[in-house]
Assembly symmetry: D2
């Protein structure tokens, strides 16, 4: 398995009155990495995906600087019409946030979920992470 | 002539690291007032308008509070396929910003400017301000 | 227990190229409601709180309209230096999203978590929801 | 004179429901370039500057892509306590927008404008553009 690595640039105005990057800006960072992973590196991936859920843990505050953050992404829980993108957000060497997005493949014409295509599955499978999670409990499912 | 008055809510995260509302947030405030003026109060106004130009003068810094800002809008320079929206942004009694937007009526199917319709012209004309501007030079040219 | 109810205004530009409110905008809506709940209705609540985690489930897509969304907030898992804010986001009668934020009370001078003050605990306790959740499993742990 | 050139990354969510980059996002792009020009490339530039005015002309619509926009910046109208930053925003070879920002050097302790320091003046003077503008009227004043 390979992680998808993408650099995302903060904006000075992503900082809020506490002089830290505001929590909502991280979702835009995740989206940037996800959009490039799915739609720009891999032309076979269809347009129809909706976000069903986000989880994000803020581990360290981040202060704006012009050098980009490094995001590492991988795929988890690949099912018939949904999959999870997992992320780690690094500010230099520091793991600043950890997140997960549940994506549902969707047909906007019929307004209903649709099955992941074979081509999409091939792309996603290349980013499946089967290795044990660093914070996983030994007896199994964290969630 | 009547000004269109609309209240717009700030968001705490519109403040930047200087603890003032960031200059870019004002364009979203102008847009909110414009969208309600054109599309929600007046169903006859077509969807096709593009922004050709903004000018904005920041007169006083604004700090977030939950009470809305009050925007006053009127129309100026109503031409064949373009018109100007002028704004004053009030934070309580304080005039915090003054702005102007040049809008071009546009046909998205042909991808070209289109003439303002009679119905649109009627709506816009109701907001024309013919009174002298407070900062107008006596000999004419306002700026 | 009482829920805190707050109306939040969308912005037209919160919609993305899919013509739905973008997923990241919801975090700004949650923040608006939280800021008013903690800092504007209740002057005894200190300034020092950081966001440790968000979870959000998107249940229905939302299209911009000028009428506000209605957010209902309550408190859960009130501990020594952390608590959870739970939210339901209603678009008219429709439950459009459900979310939870883990907040940590923080001392920015020492840069460390601090205990919830008695006054803060009093405010938060007034919003504790002890009733069973609609999606709770009968045997207990909801997640 | 040298122009300051900086690449700025769009975000997918900067697009609005018309599937173009929303007009307000450009101000964030200008800010990114300005912040790097003043504060990160040139450590002698003080922190105290406020925005007094923006003007922006939208020349071509822009659609999101992961490759950055190229911004070219130069300085104009360098006075005692204010100066103008002029910008051209290029989307590939296309001039997509032209803008100008009036900045006032400011002392946040006394809450009043302050004179540009000698060190700041030296930095700004290196970006002064004395060449004729492409759209300048032959008899002089562009505005």
């Amino acid at each position: 398995m390979a992680r998808f690595v993408h650099e995302v640039h903060m904006r000075w105005s992503d900082m809020d009155a506490y002089r830290h990057i505001n929590n909502s800006a991280y979702l835009a960072y995740l989206e940037e990495a996800r959009v490039v992973m799915f739609f720009h590196r891999h032309s076979g991936f269809s347009d129809g995906t909706v976000i069903a859920r986000h989880e994000i843990d803020y581990l360290r505050p981040v202060v704006y600087h012009p050098e980009p953050l490094r995001l590492e992404l991988w795929i988890d829980e690949l099912a018939g019409a949904r999959f999870t993108v997992r992320y780690e957000v690094y500010d230099g060497p520091v793991l600043a946030a950890r997140a997960a997005t549940t994506c549902v493949t969707f047909d906007f014409r019929t307004d209903r979920p649709r099955r992941i295509t074979a081509e999409e599955r091939g792309i996603l499978a290349g980013f499946l992470d089967e290795s044990p999670q660093p914070d996983a409990a030994p007896t199994g499912g964290r969630r």
